[in-house]
Symmetry: C2
């Protein structure tokens, strides 16, 4: 992976400002020493999701710890568009993969949901968060997507704020094409809902179609796997409603 | 995986017409017997990329062979839109993954290309074809994408038919956003070019920017991995220029 800025990027929790000293996490310490073979004096880029992106330098490197000194700010903080992904965990490529791709595609929040046909029964929250952080570091984001604990689809709908549009990838037929539907829709915070391998049950589809905030959409005449559908929908949303188009505005 | 038609789908080479007998391949024979535990009398759906989709029934099942009798045509033949994918093989998720997703997203032809920074040195053509067939079976396509032998990027460009637009996913900056670029472009056969992990070299970018048929595009402000970029570009093209929108026309 080549970094456009030419420097390794790390996500850290502490506040970042000129002159501060910060210490990388244990995993980052290992990564810097043993994967990147970093030395004293090497520069890295740091972000914490709040203070923008900063250049820092390895000031000291003892057997015990690495000390990073924050130098100057390279980019001001910016948020990702307000786009959530609700996704049923799937077997094969798995939710780790979806989280990674959703982070690259700018999702601000990822909420694993258990549906009637979801086969996977447990979600490792810490592992998902690690994937989200790594993808954020590599994708030049200045935020890390929030990873929610997994809940059932019905619990997620019970707590739903109806001002957030729920874009329902509905393979059941009859829904408008996603691009056309998004271009016709008013600007609004949004979430994309993608199902498990076996799709949604008729009862789930009925429940979803009954909600005023649900926008059912189709993704073309071919049947997409659950992970492909989630990624395609995220890309379409960013291009039509999100921040892809911004450079030209 | 649930099948909308309710029946298992298989891709076979032989001609399909009412009353014909056909024999599944060795791998399909194994799949029918040992994975699906099919029995005499069971129905399956068949397609060969030429004759549409047919219902067939297992007429006889001996230790040696399965005999399928073709019954009636369920769908007439249809082609996918004329969209190629040129993709550098990548390590991690790999080209198998890209081929599977590209088949779901309706690519008609997939051409692996070796670029200057491509790390992978060999591509297993037979394995890619097997992945393409499996994805075509599962995605309800009536065709299987053509898988070309891997060539160098420069060889691919030397043989290029300039009436085919080459959509170049250019992370180098300055290109228009893909959605805006595709909406502004005239309808034309197209190909998407996605690079390896390390991106394209300055020399490759210069070469590509010098071609009249190349349309450089960007995919938003975040850096996408090579596989994510390919999938996002395929989805955008299908929604704007391809057959996603057809149901509403």
């Amino acid at each position: 992976m080549s970094y456009p800025g030419g420097l390794l990027r790390l996500f850290l929790e502490p506040a970042l400002s000129e002159g501060r000293q910060v210490t990388p996490s244990e995993a980052q310490d290992h990564y810097l020493r043993h994967v990147m073979r970093a030395k004293e004096g090497d520069a890295v880029r740091l972000f914490n999701g709040r203070d923008g992106e900063w250049r820092a330098r390895i000031e000291a490197m003892t057997r015990r710890a690495i000390c990073l000194r924050v130098e100057d700010r390279l980019r001001p903080q910016r948020q990702e568009p307000d786009l959530w992904l609700l996704c049923a965990p799937i077997k094969r490529t798995g939710i780790d993969f979806i989280v990674e791709k959703a982070a690259e595609l700018g999702a601000s929040r990822i909420k694993p949901v258990f549906t009637a046909r979801t086969i996977v029964t447990r979600v490792n929250h810490q592992r998902l968060l690690a994937h989200a952080i790594e993808a954020a570091e590599q994708s030049e984001r200045l935020t890390v997507p929030v990873i929610d604990p997994a809940v059932t689809l019905s619990a997620a709908l019970q707590q739903w704020d109806p001002t957030r549009r729920l874009i329902f990838c509905d393979e059941g037929g009859g829904a408008p094409e996603i691009g056309a539907a998004l271009r016709a829709a008013s600007p609004q915070p949004a979430a994309i809902l993608s199902g498990p391998e076996g799709g949604f049950t008729p009862a789930e589809r009925e429940l979803l179609h009954g909600k005023t905030y649900v926008l059912p959409v189709t993704l073309g005449p071919r049947i997409l796997r659950a992970d492909t559908a989630a990624l395609a929908a995220l890309a379409l949303w960013q291009s039509i409603c999100g921040d892809w188009y911004e450079p030209l505005r």
